[in-house]
Amino acid sequence: MSGASLQVDERGRLRHFLTVEGLGRELLTEILDTAESFAGVTEQTVKKVPLLRGKTIVNLFFEASTRTRTTFELAAKRLSADVLNINVSASATTKGETLLDTLRNLEAMHVDMFVVRHADSGAAHFIARHVRPHVSVVNAGDGRHAHPTQALLDAFTIRRRKGRFEDLVVAIVGDILHSRVARSQIHALNTLGTGEVRVVAPRTLLPAHVEDLGVHVFHRMEDGLREADVVIMLRLQKERMRGAHLPSEHEYFRLYGLTEERLGLARPDAIVMHPGPINRGIELESRVADGPRSVILEQVEHGIAVRMAIMSMTMRTAQGGAA
């Protein structure tokens, strides 16, 4: 429904990567398997494969980002592509150039792929609808809608650690309302057959009808963590205090912060994840962030392999299966 036909070609292959919603389990598994094969590459001394040699990839970021842009850049370079980073500040677009104009100008330079981050939900869909036929679009985060590569690298991390999804309980804690990461994670985890996906937050940080996304809703952290195999903490933006979503960081941490003690309610082998950047003492305490059950840095590392997989798969489809 939301973009499935736009991002998959008539043979069911990935054409763009805009959202996890609508993609089948087989395709997601193929991405994870492909990423697994690239994970080896990043551990070698010569960390490059020539899959995308001669291709030009533009990281088109309308919103600031360090981590995501850097891992996309590294992923592209390890596939031997040429990479161009373009940060379009808000002021440049208010000077009058429309998004479409920006896109057309870059396309004229024979770009093969756009990696796009934008503050508007639906921006990646919009761009995918308007690029030339051989160009691929990868969504690096659009508004509150989707951050599909993050969701896949999270799934990759869970699969590596747990080896399966079927009987897992995954708790996603924090600002679900504004989170594109959470939306994509929920779709990915459900599609991959996760036993139970939970969201844990006060009602001000949950979207209306969130249960329709296929989650169980918890308002008490203690209830949400019970017997969880995976705990995913979301970043809390400081703006939420001004928007009257929360009274204070202090109360948020008191109710929803992940402490060693609370983590004890989860299963003994539970892992702790966070899409980063973390706010120590707000979402989780340092003992947890740096503790033995934290896989936060593994997530960053896996981001490269997963993005290599997605970039190579979409590019292969867009350019006629040659690579």
Binding site: S2, T98, L99, L100, H118, A123, H125, H209
Partner: protein, 430 residues
């Protein structure tokens, strides 16, 4: 040609005039710009022109409570001339222009400008709503007496809020002094926040900032309390929720002088039509749930909603060429108004006379206009349409300068054959 010079006989159509409870086959005679005879032409009537209407419906020209013509101020989207021509093509003979032009309709000069442009174009009658507050700033009262004298049929604040409830109270009292109806866009600005879609399952999925149902009901409640206090006549324009319909029904039952209308699109579409970030379905108020659509239909059938309007908002193509939240709201609606309401007849929601009433006498009564009737002696504003004609909506063939419509590709039923404005044929389908 001098107004009403031609004598016209519309022959053999089904004449439906809900204002006079009339529904019979016969002839409609027109002379001097007025209806000279219904069912039977007057003795010795010698028409200059005969319009053969066998198999067609003959009804009053439609009255549209909200059509943005984009002039003055946004001529790249449309002009009074281009959009009144689209009105004529859609069978609309009277349309009401909201005050949010640029400059705002807050002085008699702007009213006069719009009227002069409309008269010059000659396709439809245009009436204006005056601004409730100066520059629509929501703080200072406009010179409503002057606006009333200049011919404004009511006052309103467009889509701009009047945050201070005391200002709203004073504005209502002042409007009531001059017998002006206050037109309200029921949307609480704070609850709306930065929303661009109904706060529900679809917005949750697409990650679109939501506009909750309470943004509408809270504002309806605030205004109803002030209507009760001030006694002003109030009209809620473009209601979108079932709950607001019930609140307004209750207020009417309690005897409050309130009316309401709904936009045609909201009677057919829901939040589900936003799938794939469809910017053509980016409307204001937002498309809501299936349950809301049913509530609106029921409210229309019961007469709680007195009128269906086009909520016409033509745009240049660029206005919709952006990611959904950054696109401009609205659809070009004049040419789909009649077929979308006729569709409700096919779907068993309304009878044909009811459907026509909601497009003619209903909205005319809201504006207090002598329009929307074919009674003998009335101004001969007439719409003659083929209720069985099916056509596919191709945006490229629209008359309006705005081709932005969520109904592109729909097969619609009901096509205007002739539109007459004060006895003059202003539209004739080929």
């Amino acid at each position: 040609m001098s107004a009403g010079g031609e004598r016209i006989l519309i022959r053999g159509g089904r004449i439906v005039d809900p204002a006079s409870g009339f529904d019979e086959r016969g002839d409609l005679a027109i002379a001097d710009g007025r209806v000279a005879g219904v069912v039977r032409a007057p003795e010795g009537f010698a028409p200059d022109r005969v319009l053969e209407a066998a198999g067609l419906v003959v009804c009053p020209g439609l009255v549209d409570l909200a059509a943005r013509l984009r002039e003055p101020g946004h001529e790249h989207k449309g002009t009074v001339a281009s959009e009144t021509r689209a009105a004529a093509a859609g069978g609309v003979t009277t349309l009401c222009c909201p005050p949010d032009t640029d400059p705002v309709i807050d002085t008699p000069a702007v009213v006069e400008l719009v009227r002069r442009l409309a008269r010059g174009a000659g396709h439809a009658r245009v009436v204006c709503l005056g601004a409730l507050t100066r520059g629509l700033d929501g703080e200072r009262l406009s010179e409503m007496a002057a606006l009333a004298e200049a011919g404004c049929v009511g006052v309103g604040n467009g889509r701009r809020p009047v945050p201070n409830t005391l200002v709203l109270r004073r504005a209502m009292e002042y409007a009531a002094t001059f017998g002006l109806t206050v037109h309200i866009h029921p949307m609480d600005a704070w609850l709306r926040d930065g929303g661009c879609a109904h706060e529900g399952a679809v917005a949750a999925r697409l990650g679109l900032p939501g506009i909750p149902e309470a943004a509408e009901t809270a504002e309806v409640a605030r205004c109803l309390a002030l209507v009760e206090q001030t006694g002003v006549r109030a009209h809620f324009g473009r209601v979108s929720t079932a709950r607001a319909v019930r609140m307004i029904a209750r207020a009417r039952y309690d005897g409050l002088p309130v009316t309401a209308d709904v936009a045609a699109a909201h009677l057919h579409l829901t939040e589900a039509d936003l799938a794939g970030f469809n910017a053509e379905a980016h409307l204001e108020p937002p498309l809501r749930t299936e349950r809301d659509r049913e509530g609106l239909r029921e409210g229309l059938a019961r007469g709680v909603l007195a009128a269906v309007c086009s909520d016409h908002e033509p745009h240049e193509p660029d206005a919709k060429l952006a990611p959904f939240p950054s696109t401009e709201v609205g659809a070009s609606g004049l040419e789909t108004l009649l077929p979308l309401v006729l569709r409700l007849v096919d779907e068993g929601v309304l009878t044909l006379p009811q459907a026509i009433e909601r497009l003619t006498a209903g909205p005319a009564a809201v504006l207090g206009l002598e329009a929307g009737t074919l009674a003998e002696g009335a101004r001969a504003d007439v719409c003659v349409f083929d209720p069985a004609a099916e056509w596919r909506l191709d945006p490229e063939r629209m008359v309006s300068a705005g081709r932005n419509t969520p109904f592109a590709g729909w097969t619609l039923k009901g096509r205007v054959r002739w539109t007459l404005l004060e006895g003059r044929v202003v539209w004739e389908a080929d």
